[in-house]
């Protein structure tokens, strides 16, 4: 009997542990099963040398050849088949990424993570992003070639999912107890909306409101100006150097209590994003670079193009490299975002293009008058009551149970939120987008740089991008593309407008000829790095946004100084360790230190003298072995803390918002500005006092944290590192603490957390036969066990690029450079 009892207990335990999840632990039976469970991943570490698969609705057999970089080259008889195959190979390599990003973008993360993801889901749904994607998918005409291609793309993904053997189920599904779902057209739109959420958020008005709540509206407007003080615009302004628009900052004023509602609005509509943006000042210098060089300034005599979008670094990467060939119709290569169904950045045989984020303000808030302050059903517009659209949102848990329910409200402008007792509605170009896919598909067919721009002018709405293109005829073009609202009155979008009048609604969007652009400029090159798109001296249009000039200044300096640019120079520039920010500030620190030391006469501050000596040794390059950048960065942090002390939230050590470092540069011209004074001290400090004290304090901090200057602890590679997290932030599946070259405001910026950076680097030479080189931090496979999971990280860390193979036919990819072959046939 004891034996039977023991057997009963043990069987109960093994059955429960085998069949059900216990806490975060997966159900052990299916998980450990060596035939189909997690161990079987060992059999899927590389793609089979030869494989065949069926794809629904395929018109003709498609051949996919994977090259030695695991890049699929898709050879199809028609375009829809090519996109079906793209869907299939993307799912084969990145299935969990497709699943997770859809769950995030559609506000359904609670179904994976439970209530702890509720805040993120509420932000997505509260903004109306899933609603917008679902509506779009339900209304787009099937006659559109791009929609048909997106449906074909979904066919490819779903064909893979339906035939997925249990042994190939990605690890993450096993860990989280989830299963891949069918891909729908709406899922692609969810992805585009998610990109809009990432790249076109509430910015300038939110920053100003935060500052105004501490130092008043006048000072806030000066700290977060409409136009950058340092002008090196995307549309060249004919100047040979950046222009400093001198200005005097008004002194800090009294806190403006009225700004609280606007500030709260930002936090209400974008709670997660607002918190992130404020906490990480350096995100301001995170974005992207692109530039192009005319044939007359390139060593080869051909146009050159470079691009490196800076995004969150993840494993697997946001990018997936692919090449699609349809003889006589399509031959495009580059990177797709899994789920997008298009080559987003890339090239064909004639033209190459790449993007940077515009950052312009494309979001406005309206104060609405409603019939019920708690559960409104109508809002007032032009003296009449209009119906409010309501939508019930249910948030479900892992088992399908309802975790929470929200009722969302929408006016004709967009989603509403109750902010401090008052209802605001929001209008946002991202919610009115939907034809972006056409722009990418049309760009794939472009024959010239002008064709690329035309494709974006015609179809691209949001998030607004600076599109640069170069072609084999030697033309280079850049254009800020997207929809930019024309607003009533002064055209500004930095205030909450009265929603009671339709006169305050947007009056259309700027015409293409009003958007910043340049074609074959006299200077022989074009560059964008998220700086202000157009010189305010040549336009009256309001752009809003929050720009940072340093990378633009640096790349323009490099390109101005090189009249025979090579492909290798383009590559080197992408990880150039130089910094325009350091070039500007270091002399000021040194000069201020010298003046303070001279003033102290017989009893000079030894610490300051040493700090000054050490800083003067710095070549202002953030190389991995550099041992002085840490001193400068510490001094900049101290300078920021001491100068913007007026912005500190009472009762905490945290600033409510931090102005861009360009504002510190402005302030340097005013040695007696009230901003230099530290309020907590009885003395009245001036510029030199603060600069010198910041430098000395940085030395003390660096010594305390990193040891003596030349003992090894100051080496930059030990201080700033890239951290490429797995999508689920599992450290074991991440690549962490990677020493990189670059610092704040360098062309390859390294943020404080190291989780953001150059997500794709590409250089293209537009010669008689186009050549391209590229890399990204990760690998083609999303399977953590695959040798292709992180195989490019070392290359990316070194700033190296690899030549991209461009076979025009299967025969052109010889066996030596082929890693696998996949034949896709029509499902019978």
């Amino acid at each position: 009997m004891p034996r039977l009892l023991a057997a009963l207990v043990l069987l109960a335990i093994t059955l429960v542990a085998g069949a059900t999840r216990i806490g975060p632990a997966p159900a052990l039976g299916a998980f450990l099963d060596p035939a189909h469970g997690v161990w079987s991943l060992a059999r899927a570490t590389s793609l089979p040398r030869d494989a065949r698969a069926s794809v629904v609705n395929l018109g003709a057999t498609v051949t996919v050849l994977y090259d030695d970089r695991a890049v699929p080259h898709i050879f199809a008889a028609n375009e829809e088949d090519a996109y079906r195959a793209l869907g299939y190979v993307t799912a084969r390599d990145r299935l969990y990424q497709l699943y997770l990003q859809t769950m995030a973008a559609s506000g359904r993360l609670t179904e994976i993570a439970g209530p702890r993801a509720l805040a993120l889901d509420r932000e997505m749904r509260g903004l109306g992003l899933p609603r917008s994607a679902e509506r779009l998918a339900a209304t787009v005409p099937d006659t559109s070639p791009s929609v048909r291609r997106l449906r074909a793309y979904a066919d490819g993904i779903n064909s893979y999912v339906r035939a997925l053997p249990a042994s190939e189920l990605p690890l993450e599904f096993r860990l989280t107890g989830t299963r891949p779902s069918e891909w729908t057209l709406a899922d692609s739109y969810h992805l585009f909306n998610r990109m809009g959420w990432t790249l076109a958020y509430l910015s300038l008005e939110d920053d100003r409101a935060a500052a105004a709540s501490r130092v008043g509206t006048r000072a806030a407007a000066a700290l977060f100006p409409d136009n950058d003080a340092i002008q090196e615009p995307i549309q060249p302004n004919g100047q040979r150097a950046p222009r400093f628009d001198a200005r005097v900052l008004p002194p800090p004023g009294e806190p403006d209590t009225g700004s609280g509602r606007l500030l709260a609005a930002g936090a209400t509509f974008f709670p997660a994003r607002s918190a992130t943006m404020r906490e990480d000042d350096e995100r301001r210098s995170m974005a992207s670079n692109n530039w192009a060089v005319s044939p007359r300034r390139s060593a080869s005599g051909h146009a050159l193009l470079a691009g490196d979008p800076h995004l969150d670094l993840t494993l697997p990467s946001i990018w997936y490299e692919a090449h699609l060939v349809v003889p006589g119709a399509l031959d495009v290569a580059g990177v797709t975002i899994p789920g997008s169904g298009a080559i987003v950045i890339g090239f064909n045989r004639d033209v190459a293009w790449t993007l940077t984020n515009s950052g312009a303000d494309v979001l406005d808030l309206y104060a609405e008058q409603v019939d019920d302050s708690v559960a409104p059903t109508r809002y007032r517009l032009d003296g009449e009551w209009k119906a409010i659209e309501s939508r019930i949102e249910r948030y479900r848990g892992h088992g399908g149970e309802t975790i929470a329910t929200d009722t969302l409200h929408f006016t004709h402008r967009g989603p509403m939120q109750r902010v401090r007792g008052r209802w605001l509605s929001m209008r946002w170009t991202v919610l009115e987008a939907g034809t972006e896919i056409d722009a990418f598909h049309d760009a794939a067919h472009a024959r010239s740089a002008a064709d690329v721009q035309a494709a974006f002018v015609h179809s691209y709405r949001a998030p607004a991008q600076n599109v640069i293109a170069a072609d084999r005829a030697g033309h280079i073009q850049i254009g800020t593309q997207g929809r930019f609202p024309i607003r009533a009155g002064d055209g500004s979008g930095s205030t909450v407008r009265d929603g009671g009048s339709s006169a305050n609604d947007w009056r259309g969007t700027l015409a293409a000829d009003q958007l910043p652009r340049s074609i074959d400029p006299a200077q022989g090159f074009l560059a964008s790095a998220n700086q202000q798109p157009i010189d305010p001296l040549v336009t009256t249009n309001w752009w809003g946004g929050s720009y940072d000039p340093w990378r633009a200044v640096r790349i323009n300096t490099l390109l101005r100084g090189d009249s025979a640019v090579t492909v290798d120079a383009m590559r080197r520039y992408q990880t150039d360790p130089g910094s325009a920010r350091a070039d500007l500030f270091v002399p000021h620190f040194l000069a201020a230190a010298a003046r303070v030391l001279a003033r102290t006469g017989a009893q000079p501050d030894a610490s300051l003298a040493e700090a000054s000596r050490l800083l003067s040794q710095w070549d202002r390059r953030y190389t991995r072995d550099d041992a002085r950048a840490v001193l400068f960065e510490g001094a900049m942090q101290e300078l920021t803390t001491r100068t913007w002390d007026e912005l500190i939230v009472p009762g905490s050590a945290r600033r409510i918002i931090t102005p861009a470092s360009a504002m510190l540069a402005v302030l340097l011209g005013d040695s007696a500005s009230a901003w230099w004074d530290v309020r907590s001290t009885p003395a009245i400090e001036h510029r030199d006092d603060i600069l010198a004290a910041s430098l000395a304090a940085s030395l003390a901090n660096a010594r305390a944290t990193h040891g003596a200057p030349d003992a090894g602890g100051w080496r930059w590679q030990g201080i700033r590192r890239a951290n490429i997290f797995h999508l689920l932030r599992l450290p074991a599946l991440s690549a962490l603490e990677i020493p990189v070259q670059g610092g704040p405001a360098t062309l390859s910026p390294s943020s404080g957390s190291g989780t953001h950076g150059a997500s794709w680097r590409m250089v293209v030479e537009l010669g008689p036969s186009l050549r391209a080189w590229a890399t990204y931090p990760g690998g083609q496979s999303g399977n953590p066990v695959s040798r292709r999971y992180r195989d490019r990280i070392d290359e990316w860390t070194r700033g190296a690029l690899t030549a991209i193979r461009l076979p025009a036919s299967p025969a052109e990819l010889d066996e030596a450079h082929r890693s696998a072959r996949l034949i896709l046939e029509r499902t019978r």
Binding site: G29, A42, R43
Partner: protein, 114 residues
């Protein structure tokens, strides 16, 4: 020994077809058939470990099993060897308990019938 290998072969086959439930099915059948011998006792448990061990070995021949174990160790916080051991112990525990209960049940039913 032959008994263990025979049962292990059956478990490999049914694991391939039914997943981990295959261990349970084989163990129940063995328990009923060999109820007079206590359902096979430790030999059924050994057969289950051998079966999954053989399947693991097959995985290891084709791919980097050690790499998978290390990765799983990193993800779960359990030593890689511990996960390997668990993979062998889990089917053994399942098989022994199921076979024992089946044998006892068969014995009780049989004794009542007689």
């Amino acid at each position: 020994m032959i008994f263990v290998l025979f049962v292990a072969a059956a478990m490999i086959t049914l694991t391939w077809v039914l997943g981990w439930w295959g261990i349970l099915v084989v163990a129940l059948v063995i328990g009923v058939v060999f109820h007079e011998h206590g359902g096979g006792g430790w030999r059924v448990a050994a057969a289950a470990s051998v079966a999954w061990g053989a399947l693991l070995a097959a995985d290891g021949v084709v791919g980097p099993l050690g790499h998978v174990a290390t990765m799983l160790g990193g993800v779960t916080g359990v030593p890689a060897a511990g996960i390997l051991v668990l993979t062998l112990v889990f089917p053994a525990a399942l098989a022994w308990s199921a076979a024992t209960i089946a044998a006892e049940s068969r014995r009780i039913v049989g004794s009542r019938a007689s």
